[in-house]
Amino acid sequence: MKKDIAFDHRLKTTTRRHFLKSSSIGLGAIALGMLGGNELFGKTSSFSLKNPLPDFIPTAKRVIYLHMAGSPSQLELFDYKPELMRLNNQLCPPSLLEGKKFAFINGTPKLLGPLSRFKQHGDSGAWISDYLPYFSNVADEVCFLKAVHTDEFNHGPAQLFLYTGSPRLGRPSMGSWVTYGLGSENENLPSFIVLVSGGKTPSAGKSAWGSGFLPSVYQGVQCRSHGDPVLYISNPEGVGRELRKKSINTINKINRSHYDEINDPEILTRISQYEMAFNMQISVPDEMDISQEPDYIHKMYNTEPGKNSFANNCLLARRMAERGVRFIQLYHWGWDAHGVAKSEALNYGFLDRCREVDQPMSALIIDLKQRGLLEDTLIIWSGEFGRTPMMENRGGNDNPFLGRDHHIDAFTVWMAGGGVQPGFTYGQTDEIGYYGISGKVHIHDLQATILHCLGLDHEKLTYPFQGRDFRLTDVHGKVVKEILV
């Protein structure tokens, strides 16, 4: 082969992934890679050289994942089922209930027709309900997956399943896998950032953005839109930037000599996180300061600087995308519309959630598009599962408000930008939206497809742990090529 020098070069460029497999010394080299280009060491940017390369040419360089924690009803938003409307209030036939397990439904529930009104929008004719008036503007930018299904019917396990590929704790999350596979585009910011709104963190807790058995340098960093964007990022009173720099230098020197002694790679993670934190003291407050944005942008997103809201987080997501953050994960809590209380009824609390997300998420698409960033940014919107066509009857009695139970067999996910076909609908559910009947996409397929857009082969992105190679998709997953450009 004539590519000897090339091969040599490739070895260098793929060090992080490959060395991780072989030895802890390699692991050190990787963590050191994260330090490259740092001003403290007086190096110029050699950062990208240390970044591993994608398996094939990517169509997306970064991901913005909008997670609706609690799982919204696809039947009120995207999956239009006139037949279900006709069957409204009729008892569910036993054939649909036999052998099924639900989180709360007991006995024979009634079917519940869609509460919203649907219309087709855009040239693509996508069905979107009047619960999302802003979103109907961007129908032609979005690719709908109508028949997604999962294995888990409770929030925590289903969220873990979606993000880590396993319903149990301990596996790395999607964002960790992606940053492990592709490295960072900005050495002054974490490459995996999490923003939470809606008053609560998702049920799966911080494990949804944990790094599992990957080195902890790949875990998601949660930023807050209220107070210090990252906890303890400000210097304590009386400590200036010079002093902070000196102290970090000294601590790192001690850490490094400790590392030379015992070779624990987590020490290198610690060193690099100190460096990163020092840079973040400048970069993060700037990135998180949305008050710099012009008025028309605030109007577009419906943002109010200083508040914790999904709208602010959407605008932040765009600012992070511009700065090269690799994986931006948003969670908005409060979609679990069982109908037990007004705050979670499909015609009250659920509607409030729709109002909270409709404008900003649509604005995010439009804003990224006009900046040319939708070209290489992949947006994904989903819950952790869907909702039943049946009205929930907790304990066998009708709930006080209208609501739907958790449903694993069919729900809608949409994607936009980064290599997926705009204005396209893939998959179909039956007349009442109970099962997928064509174009079914399992959670593992969704994961494989997201990695594919980023140029990663989900079967090759592995990490050896406890005697075997693990991957995000475990032993499953098929890329949904039909939705790719």
Binding site: T44, S45, L53, I57, Y131, I366, Q370
Partner: protein, 461 residues
Amino acid sequence: MNAGLFLGRFHPVIVHLPIGFLLLAVLLEIYARKTSHKKLDSAISFALLLGFISGLVAVFLGFLISAEGGYDGRLLNWHRLSGIAVSVIAFLCWLIKSGNISTPDLTYLFLTGLLVISLITTGHFGGMLTHGNDYLLSSAPEFVRHLFKIENKKDVYNLPSVPDSLIIYRHLIQPVFEKNCNHCHNPSQKKSDLLLNTYEDLMAGGESGLVIEPHSPFQSELFRRVTLPQSDSKFMPPKGLPLTYGEIQILRWWIEEGASISARLNDHKIPDDIKQILLSEFEYDTSPKSFVEIHQVPEPQEENLILLEKNHFTHGFLSINSYFLDVRFNTASIEMKNLEALQPVSEQVTWLDLRNTGLTDDMLTQVGNLPNLTRLRLDGNPVTEKGIAYLESLNRLEILSLYHTEVSKECLKSLIKLPNLKKLYLGKTRVITDDIAQIQRSKPDLEIVLDLQFSKSAKTL
């Protein structure tokens, strides 16, 4: 209840009895001959008789289960023949062994050998029927696969890599006939006087007239026959596997487009459903490939990459199999001498990000010298149409972002000359909607994105 089918489904269980009995007989025979144990003869004869009887039962059940249909006809035929042969030979062997007839020992030995061979072939054909043709060897080592010329589905269709050279009839239609129809419609069998070996034969039709009506699939007898309900006596093929959904759709499309012998995939606009079928059933991707996916460039020199880094450029190859470079400038103040560092790798640089770097018009002369540039971001720089004029020679450029720059509609005069430009971002510039009407008319495939906002109809709930 369907008694025949019910019993027939015991065929896979029962078949193992003759296999065991007869192999045992052969093994005992070998053992007896090695050790001169004459006493074993009655045991051998008993095993042969059992083998014969269980073989008969297996054949009977086999006939019952084959009525169910859905098997590859040719294969089933061979399986049936060799299965009957096993019983017949077992019967002959028993006759000899039990002393009912006497023949020379050599004949008996020959028959035993034949028995083993027909047992193995019957078993193998049976396995192929239930598990598929390449089940046994699909996981075999490469040399074994090579030896037996194991082909997979893609090889059957053997599609050329570029849509330009894919001839619909030859690559997609004829292989279906060969696979599903030719064992009856060939020069030696000529069922219904219809031959499906060549295009001419196909178009000549059979005893009931033409089978293909160009442009009207639903008037074409052949299309009607393969799409009838499978229970219909006229359904084709009567034996063996029916055509797949994808094969039928491609047949329909081909007839609709005129059923030509020479039409290539790209001669017609490919409908979306056909694209999907080509992708999912034939793993054939018809989507247009971008320049960087088709072409390769030589590896850049290491020192030139270091030079890039020294000039504050971040860079990476597009993928592990490509030497095309994705390059980004890192600081807010770029200078001419930084851009000069791009020249030694001018062939490789294909994605270039110079957002918010303070880039000015004269610096674009350097950017205009990068022949393989496909994506260029110049957002947030004070560049005007004067600088854009330097980009006229970027023949490969597909995506250009000029968001938040100083360009006016004059820049469109230069940009219209870019043959491959697909997306142009002109938000927050002096270009307005009226300015782009003309260029949109002459280049309908070019998507121009100006400032975007929600349409008036968007209202709150």
